[in-house]
C-alpha cells in the first residue's frame, strides 16, 4: 500500500526511430494510497501500457515512477511488490488452486502458517474454498480468472493491485458481485486498486477516480461526477454517459450566450473572447427537461421518437437538422407537438477546439 507518483511518464515502443510513435504521451499523476482508480478508454489508447509501466513489465521511455516517494523506475517487476491481473486468466496449469494462490507468498518466503491463513481467507472471499485441492487447469474459465484475481489479492502489503479488464470473461451476475467484493476489499484493507476497463458503467460504479484516456493521452482524471457533469473535452463527453453528451456546433452571440438555430441559449461561461469563433455547446441528455414554466433557454423541437428504456424514456427530438436526445422521467407525459425543451444554463459546457472553456 503506497502512494504512487507518475512523473512526466511517456512511452514509445520505437524510441530510437527518428519519428517515434508514442503509445503514451507525457503525463503526470498521483495515485493516492487506498483509493480505487479506473482507467477508461477505447482499445489501443495506452491503458495497458500504463499498467505495465507501473508494474515494471515495461520501462517508460521517459519520466519516473515513485512508490511512496522512492524512485522505482529502474526496479525490476519482481522487486516492486505489485500485483497485476490480466484480461484473460493466467493460471499455473501444473499446480492446484491452493498452490496457485500460495505462489506469490511462497516466492517471497512467507511462513507456512501465514500462507495458509491468507490463501484460505482469499479463497473465502472468492468462493474457491471447495476447489482448493483441485488441479487449477480443470476449472472453468471464470473460476480460473478468480484464481488470477486471488493471486493478486493474496498479498496484503502490495503497493497496488492493477487489474487489466479482469472481469471480461466472467458472467454478468458474478461480475457485479465481484466488483462489489473488490470495493469491500479496498474499503477493508485499504488496498490501492487500479482497474482498466473500456466499460464506462464498470468504471463509474467501481472507482473513486476515473482516468479517461484517448490515443495515448490522459484526457481527464476526476471523480465520476466531474467527468459526467464537466467533461474536459468533447471526447470525454461523448465517451462517458449513455446516450453521449448532446453537442451542438454554434457561435457566441453575447458575453454568455450562444445561438442554436436562431434560439439564444444562456450559459454560465464567459464567452467574451470567443466572438466569431467556432464553438460547441455540450449538454447531457439527463439535464434537458420538458419546459414547464421556464421562459428562457427553450428549444422548440419536433419529437422524432420516444423509446421506453424501462427506468426512463429516451426522447429523440429534431430541431432543423439538429438531433437532441433527452432522458425524461417515465411518468412525464410527452406532448406530441409543440414541445419545448429547457436547457439549464448551469449545466451547459462550452468547448472551443474540443476543449472545455
Amino acid at each position: 500500500m503506497s502512494k504512487i507518483d507518475l512523473n512526466n511518464i511517456s512511452h514509445s515502443y520505437n524510441p530510437n526511430d527518428p519519428n517515434p510513435i508514442y503509445a503514451l504521451n507525457p503525463f503526470s499523476m498521483t495515485w493516492e494510497n487506498g483509493k480505487r482508480y479506473a482507467i477508461l478508454g477505447p482499445s489501443g489508447c495506452g491503458k495497458t501500457t500504463m499498467l505495465n509501466i507501473v508494474s515494471g513489465l515495461v520501462r517508460p521511455s521517459a519520466g519516473n515512477i515513485l512508490f511512496d516517494d522512492k524512485d522505482v523506475t529502474d526496479l525490476k517487476t519482481e522487486s516492486r511488490n505489485i500485483a497485476q491481473v490480466f484480461q484473460f486468466p493466467v493460471i499455473y496449469n501444473t499446480m492446484t488452486v491452493y498452490e496457485n494462490l500460495a505462489f506469490p507468498l511462497k516466492c517471497r518466503d512467507f511462513l507456512k502458517d501465514k500462507i495458509d491463513e491468507r490463501v484460505k481467507s482469499v479463497a473465502d472471499i472468492l468462493n474457491l474454498q471447495s476447489f482448493l485441492n483441485s488441479p487449477a487447469r480443470k476449472l472453468t474459465a471464470d473460476q480460473k480468472q478468480l484464481i488470477s484475481l486471488g493471486r493478486g489479492l493474496v498479498r496484503e502489503d502490495v503497493a497496488a493491485v492493477l487489474m487489466d479488464e479482469p472481469l471480461t470473461v466472467i458472467d454478468p451476475d458474478l461480475k457485479f458481485r465481484l466488483r462489489r467484493k473488490l470495493k469491500e476489499i479496498n474499503e477493508e484493507f485499504k488496498t490501492t486498486l487500479v482497474y482498466v476497463t473500456h466499460d464506462q458503467n464498470e468504471a463509474m460504479t467501481f472507482a473513486d477516480n476515473i482516468i479517461v484516456m484517448s490515443e495515448g493521452e490522459v484526457v481527464q482524471a476526476g471523480t465520476p461526477k466531474e467527468l459526467f457533469e464537466r467533461p474536459n473535452t468533447t471526447f470525454v463527453g461523448y465517451f462517458i454517459g449513455s446516450p453521449a453528451m448532446n453537442l451542438f456546433e454554434t457561435e457566441a452571440s453575447s458575453n454568455d450566450s450562444v445561438k442554436i438555430n436562431n434560439t439564444i441559449i444562456k450559459t454560465n461561461t464567459n464567452l467574451s473572447n470567443l466572438k466569431d469563433k467556432k464553438i460547441k455547446l455540450g449538454i447531457r441528455s439527463e439535464f434537458i427537461k420538458i419546459a414547464k414554466n421556464q421562459s428562457e433557454n427553450l428549444l422548440n423541437v419536433d419529437v422524432e421518437k420516444v423509446e421506453d428504456l424501462g427506468n426512463y424514456k429516451l426522447l429523440t427530438a429534431k430541431m432543423g437538422s439538429l438531433t437532441i436526445k433527452s432522458k425524461i422521467n417515465r411518468e412525464t407525459e410527452i406532448p406530441s407537438s409543440d414541445v419545448k425543451l429547457y436547457i439549464p444554463a448551469e449545466k451547459c459546457c462550452v468547448y472551443e477546439e474540443e476543449k472545455l472553456i
Binding site: 508494474s55 515494471g56 513489465l57 525490476k76 517487476t77 519482481e78 511488490n81 505489485i82 500485483a83 497485476q84 490480466f86 484473460f88 493466467v90 499455473y92 496449469n93 501444473t94 499446480m95 505462489f103 506469490p104 516466492c107 517471497r108 488470477s148 493471486r151
Partner: protein, 282 residues
C-alpha cells in the same frame, strides 16, 4: 451413410494395421528360423510350417570367439550415445528456444527468426555434406572412433530439432504466464524453472521423442566416424550381413533394435491420447 462410413473406416484401419504389423510378424517368425526353413519356400506358422530354433537370437549374444556377433556392447553404446546426446540437446535446445521466444536479439540484420532458421538450416543440408567437416573436426581434436565424439556430433544434429519444436511451443505459451510469475515475485530464472518449464512438459516430451528417434536410427555418421574401438547398433546390424545372408539373426537384431522406440512410442502415446500434446506438434 453412417454404416458405409463405418465399414470403410474399419476396413481402412484393418488394412493399415496389417500393413504396419506384417513386417514385424515377418521379422519375428524369421528370427526363429534356420537356413533350411528360410530357403525351403515360404513358411509362416511355427511348429506347423517349420521347427522354431533359437540360433538367430543366440548368435547376437555370443562373443565372436564362439562364432557369435555380440551386439550387447554396441547396443549399450547406442543407448548411451542417444540418451546423452538427446538429454544435452533438450537442455540446451530448450534454453535457447526460450531465449529466442521471449527476448529480442539483434545483430545487424540478424534477428530472432533468423537465428531460429539458422538452427533449422543445419538439418536442411544433406548429411553427406556434413560428413567431411565432422570427420576432419573430430580428427583434429582426437575424438574419432570415440563415444564422446559421437555424442558431440549427435548434439549438433539433434539440437536443431529440439530448438525448432520448443520455439514453436514456447511461442504458444502466453507471455502473460512469465509476466505473472515476475509479478508474483519470481526472478526470470525462477519464472522459467518454476512456471514456464512445468507448463511445457508436453513440448519437452515431443522434442525428446524426436531426438531419441533420430539419434537411435542414425547409421550414416556412426558408420563414418567410428572404426573398431566403438561401434553403434545400426552399424553392427549391417555388419552382420555376409555372403550367406543370416536372415534369422538380422531379424532378431532388427526386433531388438526397434524395442526401445516401441517403449518410447507407448509412453508418448499415453500423452497423445490424453490430448495433452495439443499444440505441442503442428
Amino acid at each position: 451413410m453412417g454404416k458405409l462410413y463405418k465399414f470403410l473406416k474399419y476396413s481402412f484401419i484393418t488394412i493399415w494395421t496389417v500393413f504396419v504389423v506384417a513386417p514385424f510378424l515377418w521379422a519375428l517368425t524369421t528370427s526363429f528360423k534356420d537356413f533350411n526353413s528360410v530357403n525351403g519356400g515360404a513358411t509362416y506358422i511355427p511348429w506347423v510350417d517349420f521347427e522354431p530354433k533359437l540360433e538367430g537370437w543366440k548368435v547376437l549374444i555370443k562373443s565372436p570367439a564362439n562364432g557369435g556377433v555380440d551386439i550387447i556392447e554396441p547396443y549399450f553404446n547406442s543407448l548411451f550415445v542417444t540418451c546423452t546426446a538427446s538429454l544435452i540437446s533438450i537442455v540446451l535446445g530448450t534454453l535457447s528456444a526460450y531465449a529466442l521466444s521471449r527476448f529480442t536479439f539483434k545483430a545487424g540484420f540478424v534477428k530472432n527468426n533468423d537465428i531460429t532458421f539458422f538452427f533449422i538450416s543445419q538439418r536442411i543440408m544433406p548429411p553427406i555434406v556434413l560428413s567431411i567437416p565432422f570427420f576432419l573436426f573430430l580428427g583434429a581434436i582426437d575424438l574419432l572412433d570415440s563415444l564422446i565424439g559421437l555424442i558431440v556430433v549427435y548434439i549438433v544434429l539433434l539440437m536443431p530439432i529440439a530448438v525448432w519444436i520448443m520455439v514453436d511451443f514456447f511461442n504458444k505459451v502466453p507471455r502473460e504466464i512469465d509476466e505473472t510469475a515476475l509479478i508474483d515475485g519470481c526472478n526470470p530464472y525462477q519464472a522459467f524453472f518454476k512456471v514456464v518449464l512445468p507448463n511445457s512438459i508436453p513440448g519437452l516430451i515431443v522434442a525428446g521423442m524426436f531426438c531419441i528417434i533420430f539419434g537411435w536410427i542414425d547409421f550414416f555418421f556412426a558408420f563414418i566416424l567410428t572404426f573398431t574401438e566403438v561401434q553403434l547398433l545400426p552399424v553392427k546390424i549391417v555388419a552382420l550381413n555376409s555372403s550367406i545372408t543370416p536372415w534369422w539373426s538380422l531379424s532378431a537384431s532388427a526386433l531388438v533394435s526397434v524395442a526401445p522406440l516401441i517403449v518410447v512410442a507407448f509412453i508418448v502415446e499415453r500423452y497423445l491420447s490424453k490430448g495433452n500434446l495439443s499444440g505441442a506438434i503442428k
